[in-house]
């Protein structure tokens, strides 16, 4: 497929490349990352460009790889009045996202108790197949969680009021409609609140390495002040509840598209007009799942505070265990952007792409308004993660979006053939990283060599100015499903 360089690290696929493309496709990548992208990215990003109501361009972030319907790393905005909404542009794990907590603890304080800490976190935060959470909810209470998200948790003592300001959308997105959620989704997800899941989901104890503060001033605004400082990062989403809503509506849209005269190039791009009854029903259910994911990460953060208070014998506030930020990377949200000089209401789909609002964005807490929104990009369990900040350029260029992770380069089976889970855990322990996992084979699947180089992804988004490098975080303890 013809890929034309149009700016540094920006590649465009013109509409002439595929019949039905309404806008060009734009891939944001260094030459090295572009070469690593599989053929599915090019096919899928151009398929998305054919969907009704899309504006400007179909975008793919530097960590892009093939997904279902949209590529992972896909960003696309559709007119709210005439465009569509597609579960394939959000993913089954609705509001999968990242939360980062900072602490006043140092590596020197944590090292002697690291194994005890990781074991205690593993016991307190259930993970893996068949895990049950610690909160028992009636149907009515679960509906409250769908509407209120993280606010419900704080209202019930599972968190601090200031956690909400440090969460995208205040941890509660408008438009959730529990009446559009199936009984099966409720049955599947109600007991999973406060669980981590499996695959690439994790809870990690991290440290700021000696050379880890790239922008000390912004890092300080985010609560990271010095090398050796301990942070806690978690990556998870809406669990079986969101997965079932994704399944329910993929199945629904697959059948109703014909009625709206929509044809798609890939069945995973099943969609409906945003303003149609089906489109609005999915948006209401999807937002309920997004809020539930905020609640899930809030409950896990609460457990982290309880465990760390117990292990270190200090109140969580005395440990400085505050939320830096909680940000989604699998959502569709209604936002306003100028299109051809006219401000338009758009349904912005981000699938494996992080919101990256720049300074001054109204959704940001007061403390971050001058610097921009924290952006959390998760890497592999061996290599570490990154904290960045959103930019004004992202608002103009990518609908306020940036990358979300490193992206796999190797299949799970291939990774397992290269290393045993037990062997990898031993090797990581020798390098000072304590791992506790529900599935040992799952550890092997998540080996660092199975992922792209996160530094290249971070360098590229920094170079593109769609987010700027603030800090690097290196894992020392990891809990996995």
């Amino acid at each position: 497929m013809k890929t034309v360089p149009v700016a540094d690290c920006v590649w465009e696929i013109p509409t002439s490349e595929k019949p039905g493309m309404l806008v060009p496709a734009r891939i944001y990548a260094s030459e090295a990352l572009l070469r690593q992208m599989d053929a599915g990215v090019f096919e899928q990003v151009t398929n998305v460009a054919c969907l009704p109501g899309i504006v400007r361009a179909s975008l793919c972030m530097p960590d892009g790889h093939w997904g279902y319907g949209f590529p992972i790393g896909g960003v696309a905005a559709f007119r709210a009045d005439t465009g569509v909404i597609s579960p394939g542009g959000i993913g089954f794990d609705i509001n999968c996202g990242m939360r980062l907590l900072r602490t006043d603890l140092t590596e020197a304080e944590v090292r002697p108790r690291l194994t005890e800490l990781v074991e205690a976190l593993f016991a307190a935060v259930p993970s893996g197949v068949g895990a049950k959470g610690f909160v028992r909810l009636s149907d009515d209470e679960f509906r409250e969680v769908m509407r209120e998200g993280a606010r419900w948790c704080v209202r019930h003592g599972y968190g601090w009021p200031e956690d909400l300001a440090a969460t995208e959308g205040g941890g509660c997105l408008p438009g959730a409609d529990p009446d559009r959620v199936s009984v099966r989704a409720v049955a599947r997800g109600r007991e999973q609140l406060g669980t981590l899941g499996s695959g690439n989901h994790y809870l990690e104890i991290q440290v700021v390495p000696p050379d880890g503060l790239h922008d000390p001033e912004v890092a300080r605004a985010f609560g990271l002040e010095r090398p050796g400082q301990i942070a806690v990062m978690l990556h998870c989403g809406s669990r079986g509840f969101g997965h079932q809503i994704g399944t329910d509506y993929l199945r629904t849209f697959d059948q109703v598209m014909r009625r709206y005269g929509i044809t798609v190039r890939d069945r995973e791009l099943a969609c409906a007009p945003f303003r149609s009854p089906e489109g609005q029903a999915y948006f209401g259910a999807m937002t309920a799942a997004a809020n539930t994911a905020f609640a899930n990460r809030q409950l896990i953060a609460h457990r982290v505070r309880e465990v760390m208070a117990r292990v270190f014998g200090r109140d969580p506030r005395a440990l400085g265990l505050s939320v830096v930020y909680d940000v989604c990377h699998n959502t569709a949200k209604v936002e306003r952007y100028p299109v051809d000089g006219e401000p338009l209401e758009l349904v912005v789909h981000r699938k494996g792409a992080t919101r990256a609002f720049g300074p001054g964005a109204p959704d940001l807490p007061e403390a971050y308004r001058a610097v921009g929104q924290p952006v959390i990009i998760g890497g592999s369990m061996e290599t570490g993660s990154a904290l960045l900040v959103g930019t004004a350029h992202a608002m103009a260029e990518t609908f306020g979006s940036t990358a979300h992770g490193a992206g796999r380069t190797m299949s799970r089976a291939q990774a397992k053939r290269q290393v045993w889970g037990e062997t990898l855990m031993r090797q990581m322990a020798e390098r000072g990283i304590v791992v506790r996992a529900a599935s040992k084979s799952g550890v092997a699947e998540e080996a660092g060599f199975a992922y792209k180089d996160l530094a290249e992804v971070v360098d590229t988004v920094h170079r593109l100015d769609i987010s700027r490098r603030v800090a690097t975080l290196r894992p020392i303890g990891n809990v996995k499903g």
């Binding site: 089954f92 068949g130 099966r184 997800g189 399944t247 199945r251 089976a413 799952g442």
Partner: protein, 142 residues
């Protein structure tokens, strides 16, 4: 007797498989066993639970989609995994299946856990006659 093969090049981040069966009953049962194998080591699942499942769908491929989605649903809603399945598929309109499942509740102390499937996808989703039997290609999001 049906067979399944995991396809590494199709779903780098997830789990793709090709399933073959002598007939539709065999294919649906083989796909169910393969899915159980994705989730856990089947030998470590406690036995003792039997379930009867009945489903209907407007087409055969959607019946397969719904069948596997049902098994993923039971894994989360009831923590049930079924390494054994007998399935009877009726190609009438709408298509129907009746299945008898045998397995048990995941015991986190003794069951060897593997991946936690989120959903069946339509990615490269195919169900077709093949060599006198049937063949399906399935990609599971894990």
């Amino acid at each position: 007797m049906g067979r399944h093969t995991f396809l590494e090049s199709v779903a780098v981040a997830d789990c793709a498989m090709e399933v073959e069966g002598d007939d539709l009953d065999d294919l649906f049962a083989t796909a169910a066993r393969a899915l159980a194998e994705v989730m856990v080591d089947p030998a470590t699942v406690p036995r003792g639970v039997e379930r009867r499942v009945e489903l209907a769908a407007p087409s055969l491929d959607l019946l397969l989609f719904d069948w596997l989605s049902e098994l993923i649903y039971m894994k989360d809603a009831e923590r049930l995994v079924f390494p054994e399945a007998e399935v009877h598929v009726d190609r009438a309109d709408p298509c129907r299946l009746v299945a008898r499942l045998a397995g048990g509740v995941i015991d986190r102390a003794t069951t060897a856990l593997r991946a936690d499937p989120k959903a069946v996808t339509f990615h490269q989703f195919v169900l077709e006659p093949h060599g006198g039997g049937w063949r399906a290609r399935l990609v599971i999001d894990v």
